[in-house]
Symmetry: C2
Subunit: 218 residues, 2 copies
């Protein structure tokens, strides 16, 4: 629906509260208040719709690559991270790629209902990543924790998106994305790692690294 598109745009720019119903109407083009309230029970209902709409966009154009059957699992992950960076760059860091981003945060803080909704979006995002990691487990070290790693990725990306928005530049996000790829790469088995996967293309350096595994660290 035209109204939801318009609302998503203007709310992405100004936030939920800061956007009046009249702003939405103006952005949508041709209608008065009556028209709006003919389609929506309240501004709140519109809010839910916008949230859903944003997630659908995110899922269609971003999350979809996580399931691309033509690519190896870790390549998909790689592509997905690139997609996040590129999308944010396109939007000039004002709007948000993630449906849980600026708008989501703000709305989650308002009603309990919104909060649950945003939480659910987080879960869906995490679940997708987790599924991919699970699929890729033959390539990964034995004891890796798919859920933990998935959450870690979501948190890092979300935080980086947030920083890049506040700073109004993508460079930060870019750098963090590269580090993140490296981190994921550090869970890849050395043996049996197909070429072109994570870590490989992201690392600009060729010194290998190791974590400290045991207590002594020696």
């Amino acid at each position: 629906m035209q109204i939801v598109d318009a609302a998503a745009i203007v709310m992405g720019r100004q936030g939920f509260q800061q956007t009046s119903v009249e702003d939405v109407i103006r952005e949508a083009g041709l209608c008065g208040k009556g028209h709006f309230y003919h389609y929506f029970k309240s501004k709140e209902e519109l809010g839910y719709e916008v949230l859903r709409h944003q997630f659908d966009l995110f899922a269609e154009s971003g999350l979809a690559v996580l399931r691309d059957p033509m690519l190896a699992p870790l390549d998909r992950l790689d592509r997905f991270i690139d997609w996040v960076v590129e999308s944010q760059a396109e939007r000039g860091c004002c709007e948000d790629v993630s449906p849980c981003g600026a708008l989501g945060t703000e709305m989650a803080e308002q009603h309990e209902g919104f909060r649950r909704h945003v939480d659910a979006l987080f879960e869906r995002w995490t679940a997708q990543l987790q599924a991919l990691l699970w699929e890729a487990r033959p390539l990964l070290v034995d004891d890796f924790d798919a859920e933990g790693l998935a959450r870690f990725m979501v948190a890092t990306l979300e935080g980086a998106l947030f920083m890049s928005r506040v700073k109004r530049e993508v460079a930060v996000l870019q750098g963090i994305a590269t580090e993140l790829k490296r981190f994921v790469g550090s869970h890849v088995r050395l043996a049996g790692c197909p070429e072109g996967t994570l870590g490989a293309r992201s690392a600009t350096i060729d010194v290998e690294r190791r974590t400290v595994g045991t207590e002594s660290g020696q």
Copy 2:
């Protein structure tokens, strides 16, 4: 000042916009509008003050450990991460440890002035971490990027705080903090790593990990 304290509390709970000047007055206890506008030019000015206040708290009780002269650099980092998790746990995930968190995000979205302010807070936080990493560089691999790593840590923590707030549970933050420690640990040289530092205490497993360094990954 009493008013700022009160404002910080109630705004941490409800957000900046959602908090009316009268809410602040009520929370502060004993005064009417005139009293408030005697001390503050506007609600906006109060906003700046609250932001500053929150950062001071954050700097005093959290960032301070990054400079503790009694601890080795990487231990300080470790402690700092623990502090973030514990503080958030104490607050029950409603308010925010970070001055750039929920409140900061929301405010950054409003005026350009707030945005610049929050950006500056990010920079100060990042700079502290960067300084510590620089100090710890004898322990770290040669080519590590202090600024990049510092930003990565800030982004991850911020994202994790955000997630834990939306989910209303610390467990998520806890898990991510552990992963983050491991990530930092992966930058530590194997030789010459003193015991008790990062990675050592966070890793529950004793399998060593490596990143894929070169293109082939083989």
